[in-house]
């Protein structure tokens, strides 16, 4: 096995696309190292992208934020401006694993690991986040929800990797939130996750909303019916109930060691309602 640690994006692309074998990108490593140890992954090369300075940055772009693929969750949550702009995305990243894990894990890694239960993914989808994919043919922007295609699988082509995540500018009076359900208070994988963003007009009517669910299907699920339940309402009880129902109706979970079908289906609705209440408060400022 080889350990590669390029210092420029071009070198990284060249190494990755030129590698004849199985080359895995190492960002935070909190999933990859677990797989190496268990023997689930036996790559020929590991490409560490943390030495690429550009990928370690959080920068403003077009009124939104560009978060490099090597930026850890802890670094995001220490960035006051980013946290104020995207509290939902930041708190989702802040829920991944322990303090120790948060010191390493990244949005891009969480996305490319392609677990349906990834905490940050529904939060990103809710705010229309875009993955900036680098590869031998240049870079392309892909909606975050289009990166995972199923458990452990992504739409990335050979030689491509996610170099950064772009969180686009939000209209005024917008708020986002992420909630997940776990059996303990920390350290568990989401049994259900819900990322939600919404925008209010001046009289409190919801003009835009996006609702994404995690861990209730093979990949993150954008629930249009849930958004529709909110748009045009003042987020009253009836709207919240409709939201809840839309999310439960959309959920197609499996039963496993983390939860039953019935439980996940029900809790998807509960979390959506609670996340909407938080997002509403945030949107109201």
């Amino acid at each position: 096995m080889r350990y590669l640690a390029p210092t420029t994006l071009d070198d990284a692309i060249q190494l990755l696309s030129g590698d004849p074998g199985d080359c895995r990108v190492l960002a935070g490593g909190t999933d990859l190292l677990v797989r190496l140890r268990s023997g689930d992954a036996e790559p020929d090369s590991i490409l560490d992208i943390k030495r690429i300075e550009d990928l370690r940055q959080i920068t403003k772009e077009d009124g939104g934020w560009l978060i490099g693929a090597a930026v850890s969750s802890a670094e995001m949550n220490e960035h006051a401006e980013l946290k104020a702009a995207y509290p939902g995305v930041c708190e989702a990243a802040d829920l991944i694993g322990s303090t120790q894990i948060q010191g390493r894990c990244t949005l891009a890694g969480n996305l490319c690991n392609a677990s349906p239960a990834a905490d940050s993914v529904p939060a990103m989808v809710a705010v229309r986040a875009v993955a900036r994919v680098a590869g031998p043919n240049g870079t392309r922007d892909v909606a975050v929800e289009d990166i995972p295609t199923g458990p452990g699988k992504t739409s990335l082509e050979k030689g491509e990797f996610v170099a950064s995540i772009f969180l686009p500018a939000k209209p005024d009076r917008s708020g986002d939130a992420y909630l997940r359900f776990i059996p303990r208070t920390e350290m568990d994988i989401a049994v259900v996750g819900c990322g939600l963003s919404l925008t209010l007009d001046n009289d409190g009517t919801c003009t835009d909303a996006r609702v994404a669910l995690g861990a209730v299907g093979p990949k993150v699920m954008l629930v249009d019916a849930a958004a529709e339940a909110l748009i045009g309402t003042k987020l009253d009880d009836a709207a919240m109930q409709a939201l809840s129902k839309a999310c439960s109706d959309a959920a197609t979970p499996i039963a496993d060691k983390r939860g039953t079908v019935e439980f996940r289906t029900h809790v998807a609705g509960v979390l959506a309602r609670r996340a909407a209440a938080i997002a509403k408060t945030r949107a109201e400022g």
Partner: protein
């Protein structure tokens, strides 16, 4: 698989080692450098017994490759005391009987030190959440949390 030469600094000491590309920092510390204070309880980042800091950032050394430490500054439990002067957290842990078997203690101390550097006045809840990734099976955490909060109070008084 050829080994990688790494130059780093551990607890202030310039250190060089060779490691395999897939070897974790924890294995390097324990098996190559004889620094067995960091413990392996799970190898998957779920127990925190291998906690160290890299460039001041708290991590599980089982989820870091040895090769990644090139040029970094690493702090482990072995570097927490200043000579024969225990760190206040170490002293308080003994005074509060905050350890029973002691296997989780190095990781918890490293994590708690990192907490107090970031937040000198944590609430009980903040301390509990910060340390949620450090499993202890003996104590029920009660005396650990008391020791951390008591140390924080003392350090605030002293500063």
């Amino acid at each position: 698989m050829s080994n990688i030469h790494v130059t780093t600094k551990i607890n202030g000491d310039p250190t060089e080692y060779l490691c395999a590309p897939d070897e974790t920092l924890l294995d390097v510390l324990r098996d190559r450098l004889g620094m067995t204070g960091s413990k392996e309880g799970c190898g998957t980042g779920d127990c925190g017994a291998c906690s160290v800091t890299i460039n001041g950032r708290l991590v599980c050394s089982c989820l870091v490759l040895g090769a990644e430490a090139e040029g970094a500054e690493i702090e482990t439990i072995e570097g927490m005391a200043d000579g024969d002067q225990l760190h206040p957290l170490q002293q308080k842990f003994i005074e509060h009987a905050a350890l029973q078997c002691g296997i989780c203690t190095p990781g918890i101390l490293v994590a708690a030190k990192s907490l107090l550097e970031k937040n000198p006045d944590p609430t009980e809840e903040e301390a509990r959440y910060w340390l949620a990734g450090n499993l202890c099976r003996c104590t029920g955490y009660d005396k650990i949390i008391r020791a951390v909060l008591d140390t924080a109070a003392d350090l605030r008084k002293a500063s």
